[in-house]
C-alpha cells in the first residue's frame, strides 16, 4: 500500500478535452454551418471554412471488453489519425476528414459485427442499466433484453424508414439508473412482491429510522420481532419500488416468480414540436422469459410498427398517441386496458379524462 500512496494526487479532474480533439475539429470549433445525413449512420458537417467532417456511427453493446476498445483504437489509427468518440447512447463514432476512408471503415466495422446506423429517422442504441450482469436490485436482465429487442428491430437501426426518431431505454428496476422515464419506449423491470425481511441481519445492517423514512407510501413501521427491534411492512401499501432495499440490504424484493418487465410509451426529451413528456404505462407486466424474451420483443415490434404505419412525418410516438387518443392506442395495439393503467399516486386526478373530448 505504501508505494501507491507515494506522490499521490487527488482532485485533479478529468483530462482536458482539447487533448482529444482531432485537428479538423480544433480548427472548426464553433464554426460548423450545417450538416447532412448522407446515408444511414453517416453524416457530414460542413464548416464556414468549407471544411468537411464525416461521422460514422456504429452500434456498440455498452458492455464492451478492452479487446473491443483496442479494436476500435486500431480502426481509429487506420482511418482517422487515432481520434474517435462515443455518443450519449453508447454508440461509437469515428470522425473522418478524408471522405475516401468512409466506405472502407464501414466495411471493417460491419466485419467486426458492429452495424452502422442510428442517425436520422431511426432507432438508435438503447440506453440501459446493468441488470443481472452487475446489479443487486435488478428485476430483469438489461443487456440481454436490449440485445433481443435490437436484434429484432435491427432494420430500423440500419435504415431510415421511420416517421421520426424513436428512442428506447431500459432500466432494470424503478431506481432507473438509466432515467428511462422520458423515452418513446421504456422497458422497465419491476418487482411485484413485498420485501422479505431478514430480521436477524436487519438489526446489524440497517438503521431503523432511515429504513422507515425511505418508504414513499409509509408502508414501513418500526416493530419488535422476537424481542429485537426491527421493522414490519404493511404489504397492501407496498408498490415494490425497492427504495427500502437500497437503504437496508436486509429487505430484498428480488423474486423469480414475481419479477418481470413493464412497457411504457410516448415520452420524449427533445423540445422539437411538442414539449418534453413522460412515458406512460402501456403494458403493466410481462414475465421474464430469458434468454430471448420473445413476449417483450413481439410487444415492442407491434407498437413500433403501428406507429411507423400510422404516424405523420416527424411525429414521435407520444405525439402520434396524443393525436389519436389513448383509447385508440389501446384498441389498435390490442393491449387490454386494466386497473393498473390508472394512476393512484400523488396528483393522480390530473391524469383522469376531464372533458367530453372523446372519439368513437
Amino acid at each position: 500500500m505504501v508505494d501507491v500512496m507515494k506522490d499521490r494526487r487527488t482532485d485533479f479532474g478529468p483530462p482536458h478535452y482539447e487533448r482529444f480533439l482531432p485537428p479538423i475539429i480544433k480548427e472548426n470549433y464553433g464554426k460548423w454551418k450545417y450538416h447532412e445525413v448522407l446515408k444511414p449512420g453517416v453524416m457530414v458537417h460542413v464548416s464556414e471554412t468549407d471544411a468537411k467532417l464525416y461521422t460514422i456511427r456504429a452500434a456498440s453493446g455498452r458492455l464492451i471488453s478492452i479487446d473491443k476498445i483496442r479494436m476500435f483504437c486500431d480502426l481509429a489509427d487506420k482511418y482517422c489519425d487515432g481520434f474517435f468518440r462515443f455518443t450519449s447512447r453508447h454508440n461509437v463514432e469515428f470522425l473522418l476528414s478524408k471522405k475516401d476512408n468512409v466506405n472502407p471503415l464501414i466495411e471493417d466495422l460491419k466485419e467486426m459485427g458492429h452495424p452502422i446506423g442510428g442517425i436520422g429517422n431511426s432507432i438508435t442504441s438503447i440506453v440501459h442499466t446493468q441488470g443481472w450482469v452487475h446489479c443487486h436490485s435488478a428485476a430483469t436482465d438489461a443487456s440481454g433484453v436490449v440485445k433481443c429487442v435490437m436484434d429484432d428491430l435491427i432494420e430500423y437501426f440500419t435504415e431510415m424508414k421511420l416517421p421520426g426518431k424513436l428512442r428506447i431505454a431500459l432500466a432494470c428496476c424503478l431506481n432507473m439508473c438509466g432515467a428511462v422515464h422520458c423515452s418513446d419506449i421504456a422497458i422497465l423491470g419491476i418487482h411485484r412482491r413485498p420485501p422479505k425481511i431478514d430480521h436477524s441481519r436487519l438489526r446489524k445492517m440497517c438503521e431503523i429510522p432511515n429504513t422507515v423514512a425511505s418508504c414513499p407510501t409509509a408502508a414501513i413501521r418500526p416493530a419488535t420481532v422476537d424481542g429485537n427491534p426491527s421493522v414490519e411492512v404493511i404489504e397492501e401499501n407496498c408498490m415494490f419500488c425497492a427504495n427500502c432495499f437500497t437503504v437496508c440490504p436486509s429487505m430484498p424484493l428480488n423474486d423469480p416468480l414475481n419479477d418481470g418487465i413493464s412497457i411504457w410509451v410516448g415520452g420524449k426529451v427533445s423540445n422539437a414540436r411538442h414539449e418534453p413528456m413522460f412515458s406512460k404505462l402501456a403494458i403493466p407486466f410481462i414475465p421474464n422469459n430469458p434468454p430471448r424474451w420473445p413476449e417483450v420483443t413481439t410487444a415492442i415490434r407491434n407498437i413500433v410498427e403501428l406507429w411507423a404505419k400510422n404516424a405523420r412525418k416527424y411525429e414521435r410516438l407520444g405525439e402520434w398517441i396524443e393525436r389519436i387518443g389513448w383509447p385508440r392506442f389501446f384498441k389498435m395495439t390490442g393491449i387490454e386496458f386494466q386497473k393498473e393503467h390508472i394512476d393512484d399516486f400523488k396528483h393522480a386526478g390530473l391524469t383522469y379524462k376531464r372533458s367530453t373530448h372523446l372519439t368513437f
Binding site: 445492517m205 438503521e207 429510522p209 432511515n210 427504495n243 437500497t246 437503504v247 436486509s250
Partner: protein, 81 residues
C-alpha cells in the same frame, strides 16, 4: 476566535463513535452539531476541513447505504472474504 481544525475533528470523531451502530451520520449532521456546540467559533468551511481531516487521518470512512454517511471503518455485512 476560530477553533483549531483538529479539535473540531476530534469532537466529530467522538460523535461518530458514540453513534456507531445506532445512527448513521451525514456530513451535514456533524456540521450542524459542531455549530451548535462551538457556536461562532466554527463555521461550515471549518467543518468541511475537519471532515477532511477526519477521513484523511483514517479515523473515519465514507459509506453508502442509499445515501452517503461518515462512519468508523468496519467490515460491512455484504462483504465476502
Amino acid at each position: 476566535m476560530a477553533k483549531p481544525v483538529e479539535e473540531v475533528a476530534d469532537a466529530m470523531f467522538n460523535m461518530v463513535k458514540d453513534a456507531q451502530g445506532m445512527k448513521k451520520l451525514k456530513p451535514m449532521d456533524l456540521t450542524k452539531a459542531m455549530i451548535e456546540f462551538f457556536g461562532d467559533e466554527v463555521d461550515k468551511k471549518l467543518c468541511k476541513l475537519a471532515i477532511r481531516e477526519l477521513i484523511e487521518s483514517g479515523r473515519c470512512v465514507y459509506t453508502y447505504f442509499g445515501g452517503s454517511f461518515i462512519e468508523l471503518p468496519h467490515r460491512e455485512g455484504a462483504a465476502n472474504d
